[in-house]
Amino acid sequence: MDVNQYLEIFLDETKEHLESLNTQILNLEQEPEDSDTINEIFRAAHSLKGMAGTMGYKRMQNLTHDMENVFSEIRNGTMKVNSNLIDTLFQCLDALEEYTNNIQETADEGTNENQQLINQLNEYLKASKEGGEVSAPSEEVKENGKETSEENKAEEAWKDIKLGESERVVLEAAKSQGKGIFGISVFVEESCLLKAARAFQVYKEIEEKAEIIVCNPPVQDIEDEKFDLSFSLIVVSDYELEGVIKEAKNVSEIEKIVIVPYEVAETAEAPETKEGTAAVAVKEETKPAAPAKPQQGASAKANDKKPAGKPVANRTVRVDIEKLDVLMNLVSELIIAKNSMVADSRAEGGTGFREHIEYLESVTTNLHESVMKVRMVPIESVVSKFPRMIRDLSKKLNKKMELYMSGEETELDRTVVDEIGDPLMHLLRNAADHGLESNELRIKRGKPEVGSIFLNAYQDGNNVVIEVKDDGNGIDVESVKNKAIERGVITPDQAATMSEKDIINLLFHAGFSTAKTISDVSGRGVGLDVVKSKIESLSGEVEVKSSLEEGSTWTIRLPLTLAIIQALMVTVGGEKYAVSLGSIQTIEDISPDDVKLVENREVINLRGSVIPIIRLSDELDIESSKAPDENIMVVIVKKGERLAGLVVDELIGQQEIVIKSLGKYISKCRIISGATILGDGEVALILDANALI
């Protein structure tokens, strides 16, 4: 079966299940007895296994299968959850994530068998089975033991078939011709929704390879779903044991198919036990600890066939059907509006034209809003991995801490959500490593021993705010200052004049780390400046507030969407340009006499601060339409902490603009970040204030 077309869905759903597993296993650690959680985990693991199996990712399937076994034991109450088990499970999830990433990049799961993890899981299984005894037989034996006990039941199923006289004759004839006679039992999964369909599929597959002599229950009953979870067949075939059911076992939602050579002799008891070893129990899941099994070989072959190295990750957004309904409605309204305008233009006079335009305007505004919403996804997909991370950090750093999250449902543009994960992770790691004090120090300071880290997200007007807060030590301004001087970032003279806020902002300076010891958690000095530049590249900003011994708060402010921005339209030499409103501080009318020269650069003195000015006409290679002695219009823009004044000819006004790419053909122009189409159909370029400063 060509499964490539399902790859995207598979990846999406796998990620979802992994996320849910992560969260649920964390819950499980808190409440080991909660049956809802366990059921949820079991379901997710089961779906994962099924999906991996369908897609032919055997290694992934093997691992999930064993995880599922463990979950099943937990669900049955025969296994107790402990911290070690949770650790192992998390490692399994990491391994699964690795498989998923491999699949996303190359359509292949990779070659890591994760045998060690599988063994660990089996150890737990064994321990629970044997009541914690260590002197248990090797896992292989145990696995087989378990298998046989299941098989015994299974094998008996087809033995129940009563043979009529005519069937007996057929079988004997077949036997004398040297054909193989097999008894087959098929077990459908309990969760299977279309039992009849699945059973019939198996029936069909077997029918292709073998002549079906007896079927119990009769075929008609199977089609009508008048059977429990299993059915049995006696078949005559030219093929070998395995060959007969080779295709049939590919049918999904079949728990297993057992095939055993059938003895026509009435006392079928003797071969039973002997055949026990020869019986091929083809479970849908391959046995993990037997890499030499034929299935493994087959899976390797199947993998080879896949196009290697072809990237498979297409970015998709899952859209709530309600949002699409709203869109659909708006489009129909748009058509109505158009129709009424058409009708009006035909009619004499055309009185209601203004009305129609107003109507059209409201429809387009709503349409724009809805389309924007379609691109929005909740940040949950990013933040849901953090509790797990904090748990790991807590163990690694040997500090007790707890993460409290709120506002996971806050929505952001898909492109922003994809990018925001790393910066947030960095801030959280920082909070855990540098922010929170050691357990002892916290007790000494009279704080609760368990440190708290908060991750809050909420919408604020046209922005989304994400806060990372801790109740730890806060930022030691003096220590930052000393470090900055030591590193040569600032001079002692500068330090003396800097405000506390300015000094804290030095943390965002490249190559700055105050951690006294470098750990693998943080403290390599490539953290906060990366966070800052990442967030700025998303047109956002990051701020920090801190008070010593009480904790610090990092605030990230992001625009709701990147595709549409508020901009100030200006003209320079008769050409129209847009400047993002986000970067604009103020607009000043300056007399040419107030422009001074400092180090050969033009500056203005604006309420005490000296701001360099940039004449846009020079930057854009165009003649200014203003005479040199006229007052100049200066748009003050901000990049991080730096200000600059852009000299423009005229202001047109504020406008909401849709950002269009200039295309790769004209990509060399650094100061232009894109273009937009104005109301009259003309193209205006968007100036990148950051590149100008």
Binding site: E619, L620, G663, K664, C669, I671, E682, L685
Partner: protein, 159 residues
């Protein structure tokens, strides 16, 4: 609409054999050039071009083509001819190229569609004397007229 759909230009010539190629004949000054029709997306009348600063001189800027922002270049400047004079006949030919995406080129005039069979095309000889030669991949002969066939990838290539 001020657009001239290419499909409207086809007509009788379409019936030609499968190994023939259709070219749109354009004029630059007194010379005739042919552009392979399969690269042409659209032909639009001259419209306002928004200048983009700090790019090569032959890149005249960008235009709005039904909501898309498309770069436009002057074929004359690219081929080191005298600068364009915009007249009523001036057109922008929108090309869709695999490597370079969508680009508009300004031409003096669009004349007709011709169908050329391989026998009517003479491959260009690279004598390297003239700068223009590198943009031409062959000469087409059609009704006693010579048409220089443009190598569009060379035209689009940035210098």
């Amino acid at each position: 609409m001020d657009e001239l759909k290419v499909s409207g230009l086809d007509g009788a010539d379409v019936k030609a054999g499968y190994d023939t190629q259709q070219y749109i004949v354009i004029k630059l000054g007194h010379e005739q050039y042919g552009i392979d029709i399969k690269f042409i997306d659209n032909i639009v009348r001259m419209q306002h071009i928004t200048r983009v600063p700090k790019v090569a001189d032959y890149l005249k800027g960008v235009i709005n083509l039904r909501g898309e922002v498309i770069p436009v270049m002057s074929l004359r400047l690219k081929m080191n001819l005298a600068a364009d004079e915009f007249t009523k006949a001036t057109r922008i030919i929108i090309l869709k190229l695999e490597q370079h995406g969508t680009i508009g080129v300004i031409v003096d005039e669009v004349r007709e569609v011709v169908t050329l069979s391989p026998s009517q095309i003479e491959r260009a000889s690279y004598d390297g004397k003239e700068d223009k030669t590198s943009f031409i991949m062959g000469i087409g002969k059609h009704e006693n007229e010579l048409i220089s066939l443009l190598d569009l990838n060379a035209v689009a290539l940035e210098k």
